[in-house]
């Protein structure tokens, strides 16, 4: 698997899409326009400083959009260029390829996300009015949530790429699934008129990375989406093994 990761990392850093996504993510988080999570802003605008601004910068949907777009393009590039035939034809096992791709795309997506958060942090440090301070426990929770959600979303994208093998379909499915699920949850909530736990990725991501979420809800979100990531990976391997190239 080391060889697959090494080759795929080489390719990722040589292609424009990585740098374009990196720049867009950094620019977006460095500007106020894209602060989509209103949790902190509406209630405690005055406490936003470097760290809090960083947490706030990419929560929820925007975070998933960056990961989704990059993962969709990175995953489907091997199919669209038909290079997958050469890769498998050179003796790479399909399971190894699938897992290698998952590790690579997750790692590169995390670089993009990290750059975006760093940009949010710098913005908060410079412009924040801040009384908030660094909190190690909060930071650990935050980092774990980012890792789990990135892994889950990349695994989901990998499954879609393996199923559709087309960049456009992969992009569309990847980007529109989270808001679609959120919409479904909102409808369920509205119809049932009860306090339903919002299980969609955007709401869960919000819970996981937002300051002050109760530990129970945080753990539910992280465990559910970690398990989802594992299931998506397993399904991806099955699809990759079954389908002819």
């Amino acid at each position: 698997m080391h060889n697959v990761i090494s080759a795929q990392l080489y390719k990722c850093f040589k292609t424009k899409v990585f740098y374009i996504m990196l720049i867009i993510a950094v620019i977006c988080t460095a500007t106020d326009v894209v602060i989509v999570s209103t949790t902190l802003q509406s209630k405690e605008t005055e406490v936003i400083n470097g760290f809090l601004s960083m947490y706030d910068a990419l929560s929820g949907g925007l975070f998933l959009i960056f990961v989704g777009i990059y993962a969709a393009i990175a995953y489907s590039s091997d199919y669209s260029s038909k290079s997958i035939r050469q890769i498998i034809g050179k003796g790479t096992k399909r399971t190894v390829y699938t897992l290698g791709m998952l590790v690579t795309v997750t790692a590169v997506s995390l670089i993009i996300v990290a750059a975006a958060y760093a940009s949010g942090f710098i913005k908060g440090t410079i412009f924040g009015s801040g009384v908030g301070s660094f909190n190690a426990a909060m930071m650990i929770k935050f980092v774990i949530a980012v890792l789990v959600f990135t892994f889950m979303y990349v695994a989901y994208t990998g499954l879609i790429a393996n199923l559709t093998r087309k960049t456009t379909y992969t992009l569309l499915f990847t980007i529109f699934t989270p808001p679609l699920l959120q919409m479904v949850m909102i409808i369920i909530k509205a119809v049932s008129k009860q306090d339903v736990l919002m299980l969609d990725p955007i709401s869960m991501m919000d819970k996981a990375v937002t300051v002050g979420t109760p530990n129970g809800e945080y753990l539910t979100a992280v465990i559910i989406y970690f398990c989802a990531g594992i299931i998506f990976t397993y399904m991806s391997i099955i699809v990759a093994k079954k389908k002819d190239l």
């Binding site: 292609t15 290079s83 035939r85 050179k90």
Partner: protein, 303 residues
Amino acid sequence: MELVLQAESLTKRYDRNIVVDSVSMRIEQGDIYGLIGRNGAGKTTFMKMIGGLATPTSGSYAFYGEKDNYKTLSRIGCFIESPALYPDLTVAENMLFYNKLLGITDPKNIDEILEHVGLIDEKKKKTKKLSLGMKQRLGIGIALVGCPDMLILDEPINGLDPTGIVEIRNLLLTLNREKGVTLLISSHILGELERMATRFGIIDRGVLVDELSNKELQEKTRRAVGIEGLDPRQVTVTLEEMKIKDYKVLDGGRVVAYCDTGIAGKINRALAEKGLYASGIGVVGQDLESYFIEKMGGGSQNA
């Protein structure tokens, strides 16, 4: 000779459609095996199966006696259907990607391969800017990464200009003769296959209908002078007098003389001097193309 590929009753079925039907094939070390068939005959599917890209519905195959093809695929280079290239990467970067995939740390093989396939001057060019012919060459170059013992090449000379075809032919022959690389090639350009291949397989509707060596093909496609409409005994006497010993009398009294086909006129004159006037005299025999068409039942579809 070491057995490189042994396919036994390899079959591929998509729903009810049988694309490859119980194909058995043996390819030995050093062979250049030309796989011939019409569009949709099953050539590419057969190649995909042995290249690990498609799972056979039934049957089995082994490379170098090993049935686990992942272990042996690193000894095989594949070029199937079209060159698989990353458009944003340069020629050398595409090669380096496959070097890394195979764990090759020394990049000096890249220049050697690019030199072989005639792309050394284009190594810094992005592959999206290459012509189709150049992409074909790079596809072959990528198949050569890792010094494979066998190459599976599906239409490798598609899109190449005449010079390019000659260069690739020479490259493949050099690899075969100097490095002992075994080749399995399919091509629409039958004349090219005839120049290169040591063995041929003809596949039709998924079935391997004929398999023959180059020698057998030469025998079957031998050019000769055919003489019709005369008493065969008188014709053979005349041929003997002309010191032509290699001839055959076929059913229906047709005589075929295996000699320099340029002397058909001389034979005719010799017969005429004896008052023997043939109803037909001329060059007979086939090339691979006409042999193939005959095998396919005279169809006019593409090979």
